[in-house]
């Protein structure tokens, strides 16, 4: 019964994640972005935008991609070109993670008013993993735009 409820919740929240990603990419970047079944290939260097959740849901939302996808996202958002993973690219990734998380939680009345977001934390590096102690629920979805892919995850530690 509990497992069935978790699956339902994963389906409901997963659908909202797809809509939030599509909305942010379409409105802010003019890019069509769709969910895909395949996990992005493991790349040596990746960048993660982390947004903390507190209140009705405690946890973290993570938008993660490789360097090439991050540069393309920053280019689409700013209209500038980037040769490296500089501070503007990291800032853009933080903002995209922030907007996707806000657009996602805003779709659910139980979260919209009662779940606060942290300012973004951006992590870059090679072969790192993000760990959460015994998450109550973890939903990871994969997305593709143009020739690039990324993942967006909701890691829920607890719900009130």
């Amino acid at each position: 019964m509990a497992a069935s409820k978790q699956m339902n919740l994963a389906g409901v929240y997963g659908h909202g994640m797809d809509e939030a990603v599509a909305e942010v990419f379409s409105l802010m970047m003019g890019i069509r972005c769709a969910s895909v079944a395949d996990r992005p290939a493991d790349e040596a260097e990746t960048i993660s935008s982390l947004i903390g959740l507190a209140g009705a849901m405690s946890g973290t939302c993570v938008l993660r991609c490789d360097v090439q996808a991050a540069r393309r996202i920053a280019e689409a958002l700013t209209g500038l070109e980037f040769q490296s993973l500089d501070d503007t690219v990291k800032d853009a990734m933080g903002e995209v993670g922030n907007m996707v998380t806000g657009a996602w939680k805003g779709r659910y009345p139980e979260l919209a008013s009662n779940c606060m977001l942290s300012t973004p934390t951006v992590v870059t590096g090679s072969n790192y993993q993000l760990h959460t102690q015994r998450p109550e629920l973890r939903i990871e979805r994969y997305y593709r735009f143009e020739a690039y892919s990324f993942s967006f995850s909701v890691v829920c530690e607890s719900r009130q």
Binding site: E23, A74, T78, N98, G102, A112, L117
Partner: protein, 126 residues
């Protein structure tokens, strides 16, 4: 439309530029655009420079947008200048709190240039 001076407050420099670009697309012409990355910096700008429009994020370090608005009113800085909040926070509680604190408008990120135009231009023309 005459040129205006505006203050854009957001902890993301990328978002400050996007907001400025959206305003220019909406037809706003600037004499000067001031930027601040939090409420403390924004108050400092207002002590030194007159502006005709303020756009502020809510969720920022050091001093968030709602506290900035409260401090601005308490210190009688730019008392008649319209303030519009631009934020990922979409809850009605946040909207009500922002309006109660003196904001004249509220735009949720992500936004379209049309939304910016519809919410900002009437404030500049009134």
């Amino acid at each position: 439309m005459t040129e205006i001076s505006a203050l854009i407050v957001d902890d993301s420099s990328v978002m400050r530029k996007i907001v400025e670009r959206a305003l220019r697309q909406a037809g706003v012409e600037f004499a000067k655009v001031f930027e601040a990355s939090n409420g403390v910096e924004a108050l400092d700008v207002l002590r030194e420079h007159p502006v005709e429009l303020i756009l502020s994020d809510i969720n920022m370090p050091s001093m968030d947008g709602l506290e900035f608005l409260r401090q601005m009113r308490a210190q009688h800085l730019a008392p008649d200048v319209p303030v519009v909040m631009i934020t990922t926070e979409s809850s009605q509680d946040h909207v009500r709190e922002a309006i109660a604190t003196g904001a004249r408008g509220y735009i949720r990120k992500p936004f379209t240039a049309e939304q910016v135009k519809d919410r900002i231009l009437p404030l500049l023309n009134s």
